[in-house]
Subunit: 199 residues, 2 copies
């Protein structure tokens, strides 16, 4: 850790850490939309331009702050383009591919943390809602429908349950089933929650 | 805590605790089917008849050891009797009723614990498999089918995900939705996993 002669933080790891701490606090307490980069910079004691330099956009800062194992901005566009009647299958395939990769270990740690701390839960909830589910709803053109949020939460419930049983509880045969088997079985669920009858 | 003059445990709370500890160890390490009441009694340093006296059957001992918030033997028969085409709805309604009750708090603690410890995860996995899912499969007469275990695990994935999002992450609108709304939306999923096409 490098500390300048004035006692103020300087040097990259420490400054990055201060920014990430401030970001976590802001996103958990104020939510993604109301958290401001300027306020995060003030809390961290740095210039806002430094945040952009280190982390890029507000979305990217949120992903870094949460240590979320994937970048929704990279992953979602491909899953969301194409036949809307198969978006459930594409979303599920993309999600399982991330979780089956080495990044899944970080994801598991994140889930555990969210289960044991209200604060982590708020952060993960906010991330999933604003960075993943909202994009899916907007892309399908249903974000203004009265049942949009319920549809999104139902999707989250099935995906979260798959993660929990396959990767954390390691319930067989889900834990060792090939991805394709799970996709075939579960994709119709995701698809119905998104575009089918739910009421 | 009451300790007898010989130094051996005596007195109800201490003996019960020793039995429960021995039971957790046996169920996690050997599984429900292979764990023996006699071996549990030996480990706990008590007579097997005392286990029966305190806890009843092996199933009841397992429920007590896990502090599972419901007794599957009481809850399941009703949900499993009646029209098999609506068993998904009845199972979901029964499960949500437990989780919406004060017992749900104990259930949430159990889930958290299973997420953070391999040992607790093994215990919960074994309980759900042998005490809940197996009964459901047997009742539907599909426990010998090659895809029976996958069907059961899929059901567990959706129920676990609902518990996680509604009660632990408190994702809205799932967290405050009336039970009936969730049942209408999710029961077809459970039903398909149990008796519909999954491959």
């Amino acid at each position: 850790m490098v500390v300048g002669r004035t006692g103020r933080r300087s040097g990259s790891p420490d400054t990055r850490g201060a920014i990430l701490d401030a970001a976590r606090q802001a996103f958990a307490e104020r939510g993604f939309d109301r958290a401001s980069m300027r306020a995060i910079a003030t809390t961290a004691g740095v210039d806002p331009s430094l945040i952009h330099h280190y982390f890029g956009t507000k979305e990217q800062l949120f992903q870094a702050a949460l240590e979320f194992p994937m970048n929704p901005q990279e992953l979602l566009p491909q899953a969301l383009s194409g036949d809307p009647d198969q978006v459930g299958e594409r979303l599920l395939a993309a999600g399982l591919a991330v979780w089956d990769s080495p990044a899944g270990v970080a994801g598991a740690a994140l889930m555990r943390s969210a289960m044991s701390s209200e604060w982590s839960a708020a952060l993960l909830r906010e991330f999933v809602t604003t960075q993943v589910l909202r994009r899916v709803l907007v892309s399908l053109g249903i974000d203004r429908s009265p049942e949009a949020d319920l549809r999104a939460a139902l999707v989250a419930s099935q995906i979260a349950g798959l993660i929990m049983t396959r990767y954390l509880l390691k319930l067989e045969p889900l834990a060792s089933a090939p991805r394709e088997v799970i996709i075939t079985a579960v994709a119709p669920t995701i698809q119905r929650y998104l575009t089918g009858p739910i009421a």
